[in-house]
Symmetry: C2
Subunit: 352 residues, 2 copies
């Protein structure tokens, strides 16, 4: 059996250097790290993860658990976290939870079984009680919108304020018949806060607050969270007797589907109706028309997640911290009618 | 210390059922699996991965290693693999390799360190020799376009034939001045096959074959692989004395950027120029205009990857298999001018 000493002798470095190269606990120059890795591969050195973990207390690996990778927002967020953890010397594995309680339990279990140093989880299915219990066994940072009463480290975005700003933009541009595309429906959101729709409920709250303050008519449609769902919402809204002149979508992904569904119905954005999204995914600026969106401070969100997880790993007893990052409203073509004459064709505004 | 027997007693099932629920080696009913998992969580049962691996030869976890999750194609592919492995009873962790040799070595190393049952890797940086050496230590399926001489299990898509079909579509629609947007440049591709651009080189080869057979003028532009790179390519092409009337992009992601860059220059798709992409990512059908694209059989690619990896895990000595999935050319709005009169405004065709 090949030992760490064998690797060290073969590579001509100390056993400590081999260890540091493998764990990333202390910095090692890039050429040395590469030499060690190649020697590890060549000799077929097998590190016993459990034993190493017991000896050193670290594996150098963290988990990131998101609902799905088939999502503009979560795939881009995962990428940013992988890059940021890598810069902090930590390897990252990404898991899908399918936004289910069971998938999220599995992410905690896998973190413990594989002795990951910590876990960043966008928790949608687990209750606060469950997260608190699990966080005692695995260093964890929770992303998202559950109200966690500062019992775990928690990083979130300004959902209510962002949605308010987006809705006020539509009002400022002259919209008076506003539609919400999201989940849950207006009726649902006033009845119950679904855990799986917590961020969306908050965005709905912001929409309603601004729309009512502006005296606009409001309507809504929801069919799920995908681009295909957005298409269905657009079909819904085009079938209404009073068509909306401004649409706020709780995610950019839904907004892309809405714009597509409007185009299918011969309705142009921004000439005939204005559309604004939320998340500012990268695609927003490449669509034609480019999509106006609420841009949470993505870099801040990722930096705070990495910072808080590293702190939690170092000091499991640290006081839990709740961080809400800032946001910016990015105005693009979807809320910028190119010429006034085109807008007049949108039909008479209702007298209010 | 909590043992598997404690979990079994508490849940009222056999120790074998607990084991099967944890490893997924044999099927367990969903309610039973859930009961076992909840009991594992409640009692804080710690499975020793290395010990379990030695005892049972399986961890029930596979790795998927892709260049980046910040990519339409790779994020959607990763999602499909996670779902398919989940249906096969295997948990999946996803890692980014950043398309580097070092990142890919790390994926193999992590697979071995964490005793994953196998690895699916979109290998771009490693040489064939290296992949062959590593594949003796970890059950592996390679995705992508390296010429591997059937020494490892390998699943790929029809890059040359797909690109030829896409280019012939442009010719059939009357295009005579064709542009390639991709990587590497036409000059590069004839000099050297860069490992990191293998699939793109094959797509370029298909483009050139069809364009030359059709007697079209060809030009090209490349600035990288992102949407932003596509915008730059469009700017390039709009600055040429003879503007292209048809553009083949080696990925849909580049095509989205190209369409955006053309719009910035006041050039409309498909009215002024036709555009076709490759990969048929989900977004292709939601953009306005929707994007024509080469659609490899995504389901087949994923199913073959799962099948071959499962077989390799069961039988490490199985004969390596090389699978190329089929494809379909999906025609959408970006190659379908809405009205003939609009097309006549594209300018006179060169006499050839």
């Amino acid at each position: 059996m090949v030992t760490m000493r064998d690797v060290a002798a073969e590579a001509g470095v100390s056993a400590m250097t081999v260890s540091n190269a493998l764990t990333g606990r202390r910095p090692v120059s890039e050429p040395t790290r590469r030499l060690v890795m190649e020697t590890v591969e060549r000799l077929g050195y097998q590190v016993n993860v459990a034993a190493r973990s017991l000896r050193q207390g670290r594996t150098g690996v963290v988990g990131v658990a998101v609902p799905t990778l088939d999502s503009h927002y979560y795939s881009q967020l995962s990428h940013r976290l992988v890059v940021a953890f890598s810069q902090a010397g930590l390897a990252t594995v990404v898991e899908e939870t399918h936004a289910s309680r069971e998938g999220e339990l599995a992410a905690f279990r896998d973190s413990r079984l594989n002795a990951y140093d910590g876990l960043v989880i966008a928790a949608l299915g687990l209750s606060e009680r469950e997260i608190n219990a699990l966080s005692r066994e695995v260093p964890v940072v929770v992303l998202g919108e559950q109200e966690l009463h500062q019992t775990v480290d928690h990083v979130s975005m300004p959902n209510v304020a962002g949605a308010e700003a987006a809705t006020r933009l539509l009002l400022d541009r002259g919209c008076r018949r506003l539609a919400l595309v999201g989940f849950p429906t207006l009726e649902d959101v006033e009845k119950v806060r679904l855990p799986e729709g917590a961020a969306f409920s908050l965005r709905t709250e912001g929409f309603l607050r601004a729309a009512r303050a502006g005296g606009a008519d409001v309507t809504s449609s929801h069919h799920g969270v995908t681009q295909a769902a957005g298409v269905l919402c657009a079909q819904d809204l085009l079938g209404r007797p009073e068509r909306p002149d401004g649409i706020f979508c709780v995610t950019d992904t839904l907004a892309f589907g809405v714009v597509r569904g409007l185009a299918d119905g011969g309705v142009r954005v921004p000439d005939d109706v204005l559309v604004v999204g939320f998340d500012d995914v990268e695609d927003a600026r490449f669509h034609v028309p480019s999509l106006s969106s609420v841009a949470p401070d993505h870099d801040g969100l990722v930096a705070e997640s990495v910072r808080l997880l590293q702190r939690r790993i170092q000091d499991p007893a640290a006081t839990p911290t709740d961080v809400t990052v800032s946001f910016e409203l990015v105005e693009r073509e979807s809320t910028t009618p190119p010429a006034r004459p085109a807008r007049r064709t949108r039909g008479a505004r209702p007298a209010r």
